[in-house]
Each structure stands twice: as C-alpha cells, then as structure tokens.
Symmetry: C2
Subunit: 255 residues, 2 copies
DNA sequence: TCACGGAATATGTCGGAGTAAATAGGGAGA
DNA sequence: TCTCCCTATTTACTCCGACATATTCCGTGA
C-alpha cells in the first residue's frame, strides 16, 4: 500500500525536496527550491524565470504545482508575474526578508555574513527596548515564564538543546511581555535567525562566558520595574552576541 | 469587445473586489477579502474555513482561484490547510503582521488602536537606532537624498501630498543609509503603516507644530557623524508621533 | 519613421480524479 | 459492561491537463 502510494508526483517531490525537510507539499518543495535559488543569488533581481512550461517540465511537475510555488514567492515579494513578460525577480528591497520562511531560505545555503550582521544589529536594537517596555508593563504571567526559563537555564548549560530552548523561552517571554504585536512577530524572525546561526557559531568558536548572571540581571530589573536598568542589562547581552557575530564574520572573510 | 470580455469570472471578481483596488487578479481579490475578514476578526484563530467547494461556489469562483488565495494566506502565516481538517486560521503570533499586504488588510477595516500603537512603538524603537547607525556609516549618496528631501519639505507643507512624500523620502533615506537589509525591510512596513494612519490622524486633529527644524537637526547630526545627537534628535521626532497616536487612540475610545 | 493590426506566447482559469487523514463504528479484551 | 484498538468510510485537500484571455512583439502600410 505504501509503496503503491509513491506515485510519480511524489517521486518528483523527492527530486526537488531537500532531505531534512519535513512532510512538505509538492508546491512547497518547489517554492523552497526556487526560494533558495533566488536567495543564494542564482537568479538575480530583474532576471526572468523562463516560462511556466519550461520550468514545469524541467522539474517534472505539472504547471499547477509550479504555479502554486510562484504564488507563494509572489506573496513574499520575491517575484512578480505579468501576462506576457514572464515571472521576474523583484529587487531586494521588495523582498520580505523578515518572513520566517524567507529567512530559512536565506540560511539554507551559504549564510550571507552581511545579512547575518543586519539581523543581529536589529536584535541589538529591538531587545533592549523590549526589556524596557517589559519592565514598564510588568505582566505577572510573563514574569513567571521568565523566572521558569531562568531556572531551566541554571540547570542546563547553553551547550545542550534544553539550555538553548530555555534561552529562547526567556527572550521570547520578554518580547511577549511588551504586549506589542509587532515586536512579537519580530521575535519569531529574530529567534529563527538566532537559531539558524547557532550551528554556525558553535563550530566557529566555543560558547563563551557564562550568560546566566547577565540574564538574571535583566530579569531582576524587569521584575522590580526598573526600565533603564533592564534596557542596559539587555544591552550588555546583545552586545556580546553582536560582538561574537562580528568576529565570526571576520573569521569567515569579507571584512 | 469590452463587454464581451466581461465573462463570468470577471463578474465574480467584481463581486468580491473592493472598488478602490487597482487591476488586481482574481485570486488577489479573494485573498484580499479573506485577509480583511481574518484581520477584522470575522474569522477567529482556530476557526475553520469550511471546505473549498463551499467557499468557491459561494464566491462564484473556481476552486483554483480560491486555492491560489489560500496559498497566499498560507504564505503569510494566516491559515494552514490539512487534508481532512480543513483550512484553519492560525493563532495571531503566527501571522506575519509586518508583511505590507497583511498591514494593508489590517488597515482596510477598522484600524485596531492597540495594533497601531504597537506599530508606532516599534517605529519609536527602530528609527532612533537607525539614525544612530546612519550617523556612524555616513553614506554620501544617502546624505544627498536626505538633503534633497529636507529641501522639498521646506517648500511644501506636510498638509500636501508632496510634503508627505518628502517626509517619507527623508525617513526612508535614513533607513537606507544604515546599510542594514533588515531595517530597510522594516522601513517598508513602518512607512506603509504611517501612510495608512495618516488619513486617520488628519481627521482626528490638524497637523501640529512645524517639524522642519527637528528634521534638520536629525540631518545635521547625521551629516557630522554625531551618533548620539542623531539618535536623540530622531527620538524627539518619533516621540511626538507616538504622543499624537496615543491621544488619537484615547480619543477613539478604549483607553 | 510612426502607427496600427495580427499573431504568438505565457498567464489566468476551470473541472475532474486521486490520495491522505480524521472520525465513527464495530469487535475484542479486561 | 466499559474501555481500548483496529478498520472502514467519509471528507476535502492536492495534483493534473485543457481551455480562454490578455499582453507583447513584430511586420506591414502609410
């Protein structure tokens, strides 16, 4: 039954789907392939993806599947299609880089060091301000989540998956405590970026210093409602991360 | 010819397309309708959009068109479809609120005051930091754009479209001068949000004080490379905007 | 050299078939 | 008799191929 279920369309999906991906749909797999190709620079802005039929038969899929993938890419601002002009890659400033899926495509290939630096700069901007807002709002439920995450961080080190999960929970709780929808969405993007860069950072250098006390200082400041202290303590944390990224960037080349 | 060209599918598009929309595609119109319905709360998170066929025949469009629209919504994290469970509205924190199109849907109906405040808070966080980075990088071409926009702002007032365009150009140039891709994407979102709220602010109160001197102070600080002064000057600007939004919010109710 | 018309091509749209998953029903074991 | 597990059916999402349409390009004529 299962072997019989592997029809030709699934074989086509296997051809374009990357191995680590979960049970993706066929058009999702095509979108992933095209997205990574665009993000990696294989297709430059202004370039035209030659017609539907050519791509569809090259990828051994029907035009509908290809079309669905193009719709996804269009929704994310990567391409635009016009009736006769074909599907054209849009300029970079039209791309929705904060989209989690686009972020995943960007980090699927070679992570562009310039872009990684941009992301960590954004984090260095947003998170201290978020800590300030969290200290001003001071939601009890979120405070408890932070405290639990802090406790989990004490038990596990940052080298384990549980430790990294606790770290993520702590930062996400702070973003959540701002009661700011826009910041919460950003937290998803930033968190994803941090995740994807974690592996890169891990092989570039060992995990430095012990971040627990710094995290505790952030929590204490938020708990007592000291906005300035919270922002400053978080500033120390993200500056450390930014510095790590900067050195890793120089190590990879392209100063 | 033109009347003959109006076939049933175009009539269907007219049925769901809002009047002000430009030459949108059919599935784009459906996505707009469903998107605004979801953003306005007509469909709550966890709610199920009953089957393809029901919606397709209710909207008088084919299933493909409906499916394309669902693909767009899925790409933006608004919904998720599973073979039997139907198409389900995802929780809010999965939504890609920073997507320009989603932002447009959010402001198509009643602009949620809480969300507007979030957006302006984000702007108040990002723009001073952007001014600081711009002062550190100090790109000559972007500096010229800022200067031109400043000159245009002197000639037109903020009550005219040209004046508002100059204001947008000025702020966008600062974001662009950061050489930070993530910030540049955010600028598109924030700029769109500011645009959509402009009409709301205009009828709520007259344009206050003359912002030209403050903008000039930001420009001067960036031009001489004084990062702290640039951040502080921009802080004054965005705090003013945040204050305006706050008062407009209270005026509308829901303090 | 410019304008108009025809042709070609790619997009947009439609209806049908297949397949995967969730639910409900029945049977067996405790 | 109640509970748990297995199976079958229903459901609707996914994929496919073909048709209609709009736009662009090129050629011809003025």
């Amino acid at each position: 039954m299962t072997e019989a279920g592997i029809t030709k369309e699934v074989e086509g999906a296997k051809a374009v789907k990357e191995p680590r991906g979960p049970g993706r749909r066929l058009h999702g797999a095509i979108a992933h392939k095209l997205g990574t190709d665009i993000l990696s620079g294989k297709y430059a802005p202004g370039d035209i993806l030659s017609g539907e039929v050519a791509f569809a038969e090259e990828l051994k899929v029907s035009r509908s599947a290809y079309r669905e993938a193009i719709q996804v890419l269009t929704a994310k601002g990567l391409v635009a299609s016009r009736p006769k002009a074909g599907t054209r890659v849009l300029p970079r400033d039209r791309w929705n880089l904060l989209d989690p899926e686009v972020l995943g495509w960007a980090f699927a290939g070679e992570p562009d060091v310039h872009f990684v630096r941009s992301l960590f700069e954004l984090r260095a901007i947003v998170e201290p301000a978020a800590a300030r807002l969290a200290a001003q709002r001071r939601d009890k439920a979120d405070l408890k989540i932070m405290k639990d995450a802090l406790g989990a961080m004490r038990q596990h080190t940052l080298t384990t998956e549980a430790g990294r999960a606790a770290d993520r929970d702590f930062h996400n709780a702070i973003l959540h405590a701002t009661r700011n929808d826009a910041l919460m969405v950003l937290s998803a993007s930033i968190g994803a970026a941090v995740n994807w860069t974690t592996q890169f950072k891990q092989r570039s250098r060992a995990l430095p210093r012990n971040p627990i006390p710094d995290h505790a200082r952030v929590y204490d400041a938020i708990a007592v409602g000291d906005a300035d202290a919270a922002a400053e303590a978080m500033n120390v944390l993200v500056d450390l991360a930014l510095e790590d990224t900067r050195s890793a960037m120089e190590q990879q080349g392209e100063g």
